[in-house]
Symmetry: C2
Subunit: 326 residues, 2 copies
């Protein structure tokens, strides 16, 4: 039986808000954020009571040319320190490391020497053993860890069950439900939340959610997961993120009842920094091509291309998706 | 106990989709739609398997100057007939009549002489007896009727209970849950749906939902209400409607499983007609000022003004709403 956790009058102290603006937003602008933007975002997150700020990826410099991306694709220790100093705040620092795209044994240093608090390990369902290896490595170095299993809307349920058991038995702290294609409806999110929670409770883990806005459901799915016990909630400023983007932080601040969360600093950041970014032509957010890939449970890459080329032949686009093999 | 109705593999034959583009969209452009637009919308709705098309209001010509509004504010019989002829289709025709703003005894003719099938009576909670009078009048003339109680998010629950009992005992066919301010979260929509359903089941009525997109929850709230038994679902092309707009018809078509519903005609209409309308400068849809009035459960009028004047001082706007008395 699925049980509601908490109600709309109180707050749950177990909830943690994760600002993923630089990391997921970086997928829109190749991680070219100005230092001033990142610094202001950090200060805003501190003021707004946000629990974690994800800076970007720990991507392999062997696999990705540092000249082709902004520095937040790599998140060198000194890059983060140039923004946060010793980070003498309650805001924790997170980075993401993709399975197969990170030289983790080289690039991840012991936590005692780092300002990073959490390493979020992103994996597809078919590389769970590699994810577990990274989790154990980072855990042994002293980090909090999460495992973000991507694209579960296209994975087999039996595989998801096996993956969750593996994670339950691992040292991971947080297991993330990730709706990569923005294809899941709230009732499916509740079923997934229940499945993830069951394992998490058995093994003493927390569950998180990372939602995409292809069908304008990112915020709804985030608060639905939350109502059914998920406690790590990802959001970004104005929903900045690949394609249709994410759950918007300002909407989440309006929903959460813990008085430590403040919406006004978030609105100030959006009006002073995000508006500028949009005026420069950086594009993300709900649009009909994303709805189409979301409905069909497909990767949004065709929709990103359609929006970029300003193609408004929505019906042809939708029909064409049926023939697509990606 | 709240029970889910149906699942995501099957469809429920009791579901009816209501296209409210002209009526709620008319609030954006003072009901000035070209005949060609309305004709194409009608043809699209027929092709897409939509159940009802709402043409506009039956507004009083004593109270509103016909020179200041397009004809769909008044929905004369001949205006509708010029679009639909005898309406020899499965699509039913609806109009809305506001309590206190309709000369219903003069302007609503017997159904046997009209192409209109349903009169939707919109009321606030404090004018229920006037709404009941209109319901009984229209019912006696042969029409299907609905009652749309607006702004229930600011009404007292005890008053809502009394209003629902009155409606249960009336001749009304459909009782509508209306989230006028776009302030309700999915879990609240479920509670309201349950309350409305309970009365509806007792008296043999159906329940409908009309959602607004202030917090990007219009689609989520519509399908959540649907999952818990609500069967009349309002939507509009590209979500066209006052302020943040409504549940978008294309998203709803993607969700519903009844094979009679077709998304492609809807996408074709959006790409050929709605894109043009937007290019002409007609503005609606989610924006941060609407989020702010939604969070605070306020009428969106201040947000509409802010969006119109392109005011992006979101934090000042939000803080200012706390002092507002409307």
């Amino acid at each position: 039986m699925m049980e509601k956790h908490g109600n709309l009058m109180q707050f749950r102290p177990d909830i943690k808000v994760v600002d993923a603006t630089i990391r997921d937003g970086g997928l829109v602008n190749n991680f070219y954020f100005e230092d001033d933007f990142v610094k202001k975002l950090y200060e805003t997150n501190v003021k707004a009571g946000i629990d974690y700020m994800e800076f970007g990826y720990k991507a392999s410099k062997e696999m990705f040319d540092v000249k082709e991306f902004g520095k937040w694709k790599f998140c060198d220790e000194e890059s983060i320190r140039s923004i946060v100093g010793e980070n003498d705040t309650d805001l924790k620092i997170a980075v993401m490391a993709d399975v197969g795209r990170t030289d983790f044994k080289k690039d991840i240093i012991p936590r005692s020497e780092s300002v990073i608090d959490m390493v979020r390990i992103a994996t597809y369902i078919n590389t769970m053993p590699a994810a577990i290896e990274m989790i154990e490595y980072c855990h042994a170095l002293g980090y909090e860890t999460s495992c973000n299993i991507m694209a579960v809307s296209t994975a087999r349920e039996s595989d998801i069950n096996l993956a969750l058991e593996l994670l339950g038995e691992s040292s991971v702290d947080v297991i993330y439900l990730v709706d990569s294609y923005g294809s899941l409806y709230p009732e499916q999110i509740r079923d997934f939340s229940f499945k993830y929670q069951k394992i998490a409770q058995k093994y003493g883990k927390a569950v998180g959610i990372h939602a995409h806005n292809n069908q304008q459901l990112a915020f709804a799915n985030t608060i639905e997961a939350c109502a059914y016990g998920v406690s790590y909630l990802d959001a970004t400023m104005a929903g900045m993120g690949r394609g249709a983007g994410n759950c918007s932080l300002e909407a989440l601040m309006g929903f959460l009842k813990n008085p430590k969360y403040k919406i006004v600093p978030v609105l100030k950041f959006v009006e002073s920094e995000i508006v500028k970014l949009k005026e420069k032509g950086v594009v993300w957010g709900y649009d009909i091509p994303y709805l189409c890939t979301g409905i069909l449970n497909l990767h949004p890459r065709a929709a990103i291309a359609a929006v970029k080329s300003n193609d408004k032949n929505y019906s042809d686009f939708y029909i064409g998706l049926w023939d697509r093999e990606d």
